[in-house]
Symmetry: C2
Subunit: 298 residues, 2 copies
């Protein structure tokens, strides 16, 4: 099955305790697509400026990602800069330049509209609604962020009513629902629409609230986190990509999809930007999947 | 096999968002013993004052806990008071009255000395060393706290060199080793002596660092936490109690022991003090163990 993702493509400047990476390939849709391309045919819908390096385009194309929906606009590509603390769970945003991303109105080419699976990356909920008007997907996943909960809650709620699954941070669950307890919080998110809620807890793994109770997946125990940028987007890519590869979205495939999300996210953290993610293949994924089985077995 | 625990027996006054419990039965050794008694014959070594309610003694005796080593001294029992925030992961200590606990020097009766399993509850490491001089245990577990890392580090290191397993919070790992990364931190704790390190992460479950890599156990997803006091001590009781019941301490039994610790700890959080913990039986434990299997299965 094919899978469409809509979101940011960026140039990131990142400092972590392990070093610095200037103007590297970044953006939520980029990480998502690179992860999902291991499982499914991916249509990437985004926008870049005329300064976007050709080598990044080549990398995405080599991975088989369909770039028909990647708009090239006059001007500069979206840029983000951030610095991670010694505790890499904490980061400061140093700079955000939206540039051409500010004028982004996603336009899905025919093939992207027809894709059975759609992921709405973290963009303004009003744009996510525009995408929903253009899709014939039978399964829609959603990402969001604190900013939209703060300034675009009505639009966000309209989107939530129309998606199957939401992938969300634990802090966002609390902000969206006002519930301090994560179990009640996830239940409250479900009441807003999605039948599947995946709560990401960073180094503590994630929780899947599907239709058969709760599934708790650990995170892969990394003794060195080089750069966690994009780990959450990669998780979503592995999750949606795996589902798009399966016969059916059911309780068992959802649980395995969460583990595949965790598998690909663990690779992302091992190098700057998508450097490690771009190298993995089926064999590396299978080996780490077995490591997750070993990690959780009793 | 029998199991000896040395630690505090207390009267706790606890406020949580769910209500208030005044001068209830508390103390690390109490919680540990009540949990472990579901699996093994437990010798409780502690001290109480002449004001310690007879009903608490009866409860412990009804659970089959051997109180020969529970010293009764003239004076008042150790008292602790605390208040939990709406986020029950955060608490303030309102009052600590050591009372007779201040003069505690553990004395193990013969049967307690002979027990094959010993757990050193969270008391001053110099007292833990006194206990080690009196035991013939073949497997020793240890708890500690930030206070001893701060003020009694040399004694604590001497204890660590002589135990098999340490059960420790994630924040204590960071404080003890200076390592921000938990995986490297656990490795550094192992280098201090214990071949088994269990890192408790509260609502995020725990990690076992044994001799076959890492095992990640989830916490039970509770939608209402009435009172988390004693959950960590209960975890240790389930962990050590289960091991004492097995033929051997090996990789498989250690993993199951961690889950049993999580099982009994989840019950403790469901009511004030040890009220729920004191009610559980083999059947309730087995049912929740199956719920943990379902929670982690993929």
């Amino acid at each position: 099955m094919s899978l469409t993702v809509v979101g940011s493509v960026a140039l990131d400047t990142v400092e972590t305790p392990a070093g610095k990476n200037e103007e590297g390939l970044g953006g939520a849709a980029t990480y998502f697509a690179l992860a999902a391309a291991n499982y499914a045919h991916v249509h990437l819908i985004g926008i870049v400026g005329d300064d976007f390096p050709e080598e990044h385009v080549r990398l995405l194309e080599e991975k088989g990602i369909d770039l028909e929906g990647l708009e090239r606009a006059a001007g500069a590509t979206f840029r983000w800069a951030g610095r991670y603390h010694d505790d890499v769970n904490v980061r400061d945003t140093l700079d955000t330049q939206l540039n051409v991303f500010e004028q982004f109105h996603p336009k899905l080419p025919a093939a992207a509209s027809e894709a059975a699976y759609l992921f709405l990356g973290n963009i303004h909920p009003s744009l996510q609604l525009e995408v929903l008007e253009q899709t014939r997907a039978r399964f829609v996943g959603l990402d969001t962020m604190n900013l939209w909960i703060d300034i675009a809650l009505d639009d966000l709620k309209a989107v939530l009513r129309r998606v199957d699954a939401v992938i969300i941070n634990d802090s966002e669950v609390k902000e969206l629902t006002g519930e301090g307890n994560l179990i009640r919080g996830a239940r409250a998110v479900k009441a807003l629409g999605p039948r599947i809620v995946v709560v990401k807890k960073g180094e503590h793994g994630c929780l899947l609230f599907g239709e058969d109770g709760v599934f708790a997946a650990p995170a892969y125990p990394l003794d060195t986190v080089v750069d966690p940028t994009g780990a959450g987007d990669t998780f979503a890519g592995g999750f949606m990509g795996y589902l798009a590869q399966q016969e059916a979205v059911d309780n068992a495939s959802l649980r395995r999809a969460v583990v595949h999300g965790s598998v690909v996210a663990s690779f992302t953290c091992e190098a700057f930007g998508p450097d490690r993610l771009a190298q993995i293949d089926e064999r590396a994924i299978a080996a780490r999947y077995r490591a997750f089985q070993e990690l959780a077995a009793f």
